[in-house]
């Protein structure tokens, strides 16, 4: 059975199933959300107005039987934070269930009558529009719990109070296997887009769905086997490897040792308290306190990497799942806070209110620089989340993200690109990532240019990492590879085994081909990724973005970053060369 697009109109409260048009049939995940956004969303529309849409799409292999670590769901549309195109993806339960319903995408459009809020229950029988007034004002922990009482073992997609207030830092929550709201399509304010459609929550009931059709079983099984084996063999992704043992926060100490851990609102590259907020420290806390605390937690069924964690309180009861690298950095080093218990509580607040932890932590750090609180004031930082939950004027400023907070507090060190705040890698120390921050259509985003080794992609990588040459070409390759992986439904962390182990690379391409019937090989990855980037880039141009938006913030050219005492040195011409191919006739 061919996949369908489910179009939900919140003005008429009607839902229809449509065939996937031929021109979109080769897309899934990010490729599909971006294709639909480009075609159906006016780039000049107000992101919270009636002409924006929320597009939800699982990846190519998501929901296929036992494709390893393949539970991602892409959420796309025009971003209230950046004003450009946005794709933000999450783990959790939703992707596999949407795919098992035979859906290529769900398009949520229109706006209901003023003051009306709905829970959309999506099942094999269609869509039920349930009055959500009983859920209004509630955080996501309670929303997930209430909806599972009525619809147990379902996927719950929802927004907290931040999304209801349509704050630019509102994310979209997806529940995890324990029905906790820790999986976020956090970046870019897509929770506000969902809120502006009048949707408080979506329940995905996959029972009785047709499942995911496999075009070529033998090829799929062959690819799945190769990919699974490579994940299980690789030192970073295997059981007991770096990610499984210490989570993504395994990066804290290494970036700190490298002088690339942004500290106290990007004023230094090393934090004296880094070891206390690292993945190693989390593992020690989990072992000491026991109870529900654990590393090696999986965020969705079928994950074999399991880089999530459940952080416990002193009694061993779960505070939150999970504390990611970017989260412990944003709430920790960047705010001068070295207390994991407070970081865990702030993370829980973000998960409940519905906030992106990167933007939220950065906003607190900017407010600290502006004098609201001293750096290191963990109790004060935690209280700021009450302000957002209650929607006080201060809370609404913080909830709008870094740029609004900087304006409100008169701060000029504003770590944003395209209005979105930077993640946990200092571009002055680690220049390669800075090119990606500056040029990706998504705004400053570490996942927009994910790992791909230069020789694998056929790029003549520079041996001298101190040189600024070659970084534009490398960044484009990274960005294209990421756009492809974001379309597969696989977790980005498969990047390590597929790049280091030849059969993993083959396995990814074969499993995608096996499911879809598309003839995709490893050689197609970068060209397909570039096609997606071109769509996104052109959308942004129509939305008014120019080359001047592909720039790091001014202070990075003016201020030297300790300990290396380096400034941003890559020229604007080099940055402009990353996407020059879009208009020079070069094929993707």
């Amino acid at each position: 059975m061919a996949k369908k697009i489910l179009r939900i109109n919140m003005t008429s409260l009607k839902a229809v199933y449509e065939d996937v048009p031929e021109r979109w049939s080769r897309w899934a995940g990010r490729g599909l959300t971006s294709a639909i956004t480009c075609e159906e969303v006016d780039p000049l529309c107000h992101p919270l107005g009636p002409n924006n849409k929320l597009i939800i799409a699982p990846g190519w292999v998501t929901g296929s039987p036992a494709a390893p670590s393949s539970g991602r769901t892409s959420f796309g549309g025009k971003s209230p934070l950046t004003g450009g195109i946005k794709e933000s993806n999450a783990g959790g339960l939703s992707g596999q269930m949407i795919a098992k319903l035979g859906l290529a995408a769900i398009v949520v459009e229109g706006t209901p009558a003023k003051g009306k809020w709905y829970t959309l229950v999506v099942s094999k029988d269609g869509v039920k529009f349930e009055d959500a007034s009983d859920l209004l004002g509630k955080g996501m922990y309670e929303v997930d719990e209430l909806l599972w009482k009525k619809y147990p073992k379902t996927a719950v997609i929802g927004i907290g109070q931040a999304g209801e207030m349509k704050l630019s830092n509102a994310g979209i929550s997806v529940n995890d296997p324990e029905n906790k709201p820790g999986r976020y399509a956090g970046r870019g304010g897509m929770g506000a887009v969902m809120g502006s459609r009048g949707v408080k929550a979506m329940v995905i009931v996959d029972a009785g769905g047709p499942g995911v059709e496999i075009s070529n079983q033998d090829l799929f099984k062959q690819g799945r086997k190769k990919l699974t084996e490579s994940i299980q063999e690789h030192g970073l992704t295997k059981k007991g490897g770096g990610l499984n043992s210490f989570g993504t926060a395994v990066l804290v100490n290494i970036l700190n040792e490298a002088g690339g851990l942004p500290t106290r609102n990007f004023s230094a590259g090393q934090f004296e308290g880094a070891t206390k907020i690292s993945g190693e420290a989390m593992a020690e806390v989990c072992e000491k306190r026991g109870g529900e605390g654990t590393m090696g937690h999986g965020c969705h069924p079928g994950c074999i990497i399991k880089c999530s964690n459940i952080y416990p309180n002193e009694s061993g009861e779960a505070i939150v799942s999970c504390i990611e690298y970017e989260t412990t950095w944003a709430m920790g080093a960047n705010c001068g806070i070295d207390n994991l218990d407070f970081i865990a509580q702030m993370t829980r607040e973000c998960n409940d209110i519905g906030l992106d932890t990167i933007e939220a932590g950065n906003a607190v750090a900017v407010a600290m620089e502006g004098g609201l609180l001293p750096f290191g004031d963990a109790e004060g930082a935690l209280k700021t989340f009450d302000e957002i939950r209650k929607g006080t004027p201060l809370g609404r400023i913080l909830g709008q993200g870094v740029e609004a907070t900087a304006k409100a507090f008169g701060v000029s060190r504003v770590p944003v690109v395209k209005h979105q705040s930077m993640p946990a890698y200092e571009p002055r120390a680690v220049k390669g990532i800075g090119v990606t921050y500056a040029t990706t259509p998504m705004g400053a985003d570490h996942t927009a240019g994910y790992t791909i080794a230069p020789e694998i992609a056929g790029v003549s990588g520079k041996l001298d990492p101190l040189s600024d040459e070659g970084k534009a070409e490398l960044s484009l390759t990274f960005q294209a590879a990421t756009a492809f992986i974001d379309s597969t439904g696989y977790c980005l962390f498969i990047a390590f085994p597929i790049l280091d182990i030849a059969k993993g690379w083959e396995g990814m391409a074969e499993s995608v081909s096996g499911v879809t019937g598309l003839n995709i090989t490893g050689a197609d990855v970068i060209p397909i990724g570039k096609e997606i980037l071109k769509m996104e880039r052109l959308f942004n141009e129509k939305a008014g973005f120019t080359a001047e938006d592909d720039r790091p913030p001014e202070f990075m050219r003016e201020e030297s970053l300790p300990p290396h005492n380096v400034k941003w040195s890559i020229t604007n011409e080099q940055l402009d060369s990353v996407y020059a191919w879009v208009h020079n006739g070069e094929p993707a």
Binding site: T248, E257, A429, I433, L499
Partner: protein
């Protein structure tokens, strides 16, 4: 004599009395270098991954530079076990030692698993 501060991460923490992370001060003869410190700590070579001296990358997993970068009083050295996550794009542009630079020029482009 010189005193250096050493952070040991992952399974290497046991060489400093820790579980997953340890920080110790080590006294070495004057004019000692990186290799002298590693000998002093008795860390098996196959367990060593990334190594930084004062935020400069000097060693990567699977490749031994053989360089004996000099250490000075008050230096900080961070040593990671081999299972560290450190994606390429997060080290592209990072300061690295002359010894590592020369080794990488012979070995080829940077990769996740240098031994492959």
């Amino acid at each position: 004599m010189i005193n250096v501060n050493v952070s040991l991460y992952g399974s290497l923490a046991r060489f400093g009395g820790g579980r997953h992370v340890a920080q110790i001060n080590v006294e070495l003869e004057a004019n000692s270098g990186k290799l002298d410190l590693l000998t002093h700590l008795s860390i098996p070579e196959k367990e060593r991954g990334y190594l930084f001296i004062n935020a400069v990358l000097c060693e990567v997993p699977g490749i031994r530079t053989g360089a004996n970068e000099p250490l000075h009083n008050g230096d900080h050295i961070g040593i990671f076990s081999v299972d560290r996550l450190y994606p390429y794009q997060y080290r592209d542009g990072l300061p690295i030692s002359e010894g590592l630079k020369k080794t990488l020029e012979k070995h080829g482009v940077m990769h996740h698993s240098y031994g492959k």
